[in-house]
């Protein structure tokens, strides 16, 4: 992967350290060169410091990114100059923002740089699930869209519900009504789209990708890949799927169930719910049926 970097010299070290040798860095000496580089149809990841941009520069970058979409990482300290440009970028680009000066910023930067979302795959996927997305309330829709486009965001169904200021139950119900399988699967799909580029277009070891995504082992990551894409990370690297094909499979896995006519707790996001101690397949548990600790019946009722 190639990175177009426009940062202050002291921040460059952080980028090199986070990249750990994976990827080539092309440092831009001034903002004009940066804007010129963004006007070319490549899909390199852009790493920039918004504090070094004026509002006009930010607008020019937004225009170029609209023409040739690519992942953007904004790495900056918190200052008024930076925030003026950050707001422009946040409203009109899929930029990911990292603020300097916090503990663990290196690991966050590593994830942002090594796992930038695949813009093409995201666009293809979002076009396929567009009809379902339209059925979601605006707050959830915006959040889910940004989750895929930015490659960051709520990392769990609970965090997603907190981010949209709704209860977990309401989010599950809205997602089920729109025909999505579950919030968990959406979060996992966002993980996959952010890892897709690293798997298909880099030589980053699988254990590093799994670790950056929060999976304990590559095997756990592969289990999710198999669930969502019918393939493992190794097979995907050896024989990358065509983006349209990957988007088709992924869209199908996200929306395998049809939209419900009625919403109800029993229908909502069955996958996310823990096995009930009182309900089996939506029915009351007969007294004679004993349950395992996992919640499954010992024998079929």
């Amino acid at each position: 992967m190639r990175y177009i970097v426009f940062l202050a010299p002291q921040a460059m070290g952080c980028v090199y350290s986070a990249l750990e040798g994976y990827g080539a860095v092309d440092s831009m000496p001034d903002v004009q060169r940066l804007i010129a580089a963004l006007a070319l149809p490549h899909d390199d990841c852009v790493v920039l410091d918004p504090a070094l941009l004026t509002a006009d520069n930010a607008q020019a970058i937004v225009a170029n990114l609209a023409q040739f979409p690519r992942p953007v990482v904004a790495f900056s300290s918190v200052s008024t100059a930076a925030l003026d440009s950050i707001v422009i970028l946040a409203q009109r680009t899929p930029a990911r923002f990292l603020f300097r000066g916090i503990a663990n910023e290196r690991s966050a930067l590593a994830r942002a740089l090594l796992l930038p979302p695949d813009a093409e795959l995201c666009a293809a996927l979002l076009s396929r699930i567009d009809a379902h997305m339209e059925l979601l309330p605006p707050a959830i829709r915006e959040r889910v869209l940004s989750m895929f486009r930015v490659g960051d965001g709520p990392h769990s169904p609970d965090a997603l519900s907190a981010a949209v200021s709704l209860t977990r139950r309401s989010v599950d119900r809205h997602l089920a009504d729109a025909g999505f399988v579950s919030a968990r699967r959406l979060v996992e799909a966002a993980h996959l789209t952010s890892a897709y580029r690293a798997i298909t277009r880099s030589h980053i070891p699988f254990h590093a990708i799994a670790s950056l995504l929060g999976y304990k082992t590559p095997r756990t990551m592969d289990a999710q890949f198999t669930l969502l894409l019918d393939t493992t990370s190794g097979k995907l690297r050896a024989r990358p799927l065509h983006v349209a094909e990957a988007a088709d499979v992924l869209a199908l896995r996200l929306t395998e169930r049809k939209p419900h006519q009625k919403s109800g707790a029993s229908h909502a996001a069955a996958e996310d719910m823990k096995p009930s101690l009182t309900l089996i397949n939506g029915r009351s548990r007969p007294r004679h049926v004993r349950l395992r600790t996992s919640g499954e019946p010992v024998s079929k009722p």
């Binding site: 350290s17 918190v78 000066g101 916090i102 503990a103 290196r106 966050a108 990392h155 981010a163 949209v164």
Partner: protein
Amino acid sequence: MIDMSFLQAFATAQSDAEFARAAAGFTLLQIYDTVRTNGLTSFQLDAIRKVEHELASMDAAPSVRTALEAMICALPFWESGGPVRVGRQATYSALLMYGQALGSEGEWPIAESVFALAGMDAELDGETWLTANARLLMGRAARMCADWDTARIAYRRAAQLGREAGDFSIVFRAQIGEANILWSRGDLRTARLRLTSIAKRAKQSCPSVVPRITLALAGVANTAGEYEQAITLAFGILDTLDDDELKYQTLVDLASFLTDYGLPSVASTALRVVQRTAPDRHVRRHATLNLFFLAAHHEDAATFDALHAALADEGLTARQKAQYALFTAQGCRRLGRLSEARAAAEQAIRIAKQYQHFQLVFEAEAELRDILLTHESASTTMPWRSRRRESTGVGASDDVTPNPSAVSIALDSVSPGIRRVVDSLESMAADSELVMSGAQ
């Protein structure tokens, strides 16, 4: 948001500048609270501008000033940014920076409450990664306040959230923090087992945290009296570190282990490297205070006086002021300046009592008793009985409390492994001196 830690800071402030610093932070947190609850209005913007105006003429540490300025910049953008809510992320980041800056100035109780606030609010906004960071830092702040239960709860939550956010670095650092609580409380065996198991898992999924675990293991070994192992472990990771913060923490800890082993002059060498080359002011100040401790116990009068004068001009935190007075008392007693020693010990007791650093109160009282005994012995020409354990020194890093001045051992009698450490440190010190002279 009225927090006891702020009220305590106001009540114990020793100067107008100290009061103003705490008041600026407190006011900004109040403004943050109202912006969060009611949104941004012209009243809050006016209040932010006033704090900004006050801050311009305030005597504050650079890190605290930077963090407060970051909050001033971020608050007006609270609701900006679209679906990513980048204004909120900036504000939470600024809050965490403020907490970190307070911690580096030794104001851990306030830092703890700032981290608690940031963690709670960021979690409500679904900002998992920032929440995990806030809980991790809160765990550390609570540990520094000896609030073990809160620290443990915060670390556990940080580990959960770190896992959720997919950041193994946070997960393992939280687990290291929890193990550190164990050995801080004396359970060395469990701490060692826990750290070894964390190291095994971290090697697979997050190798970047392994040096931190090794350093923690070295701390456990040192506390257990296995000084050579502690020195070897700490020295072993020194070359592998690309993180400045951890590198200097390792050097300071190594100095502490060397002191305990009985090589205070080598410890001084390590501390001088930190004092000359560390980029952060508080790290350099901490190293100087450690050097002063060693000078008080081992060095000649000229070195002791030079460091005493150098520290007199430093902006020390309350705890450091008490330590400075205590080490002055210890050094003066050793050099036979008993009236000066007595005044310094009394000052140490007064400051430590005022800021409720009870361990230091106890040590300063013991020191005062020794000074009086020495005085009496001198008048009856009785020789002073030397003791192996005199007092607790400066915490080398925050995680390590070094043992007191140990009996010095000759360099000729150390093992080849330790000899290699000594040679490397001397070469590093020579390099740092060259850098210093080049810079000058």
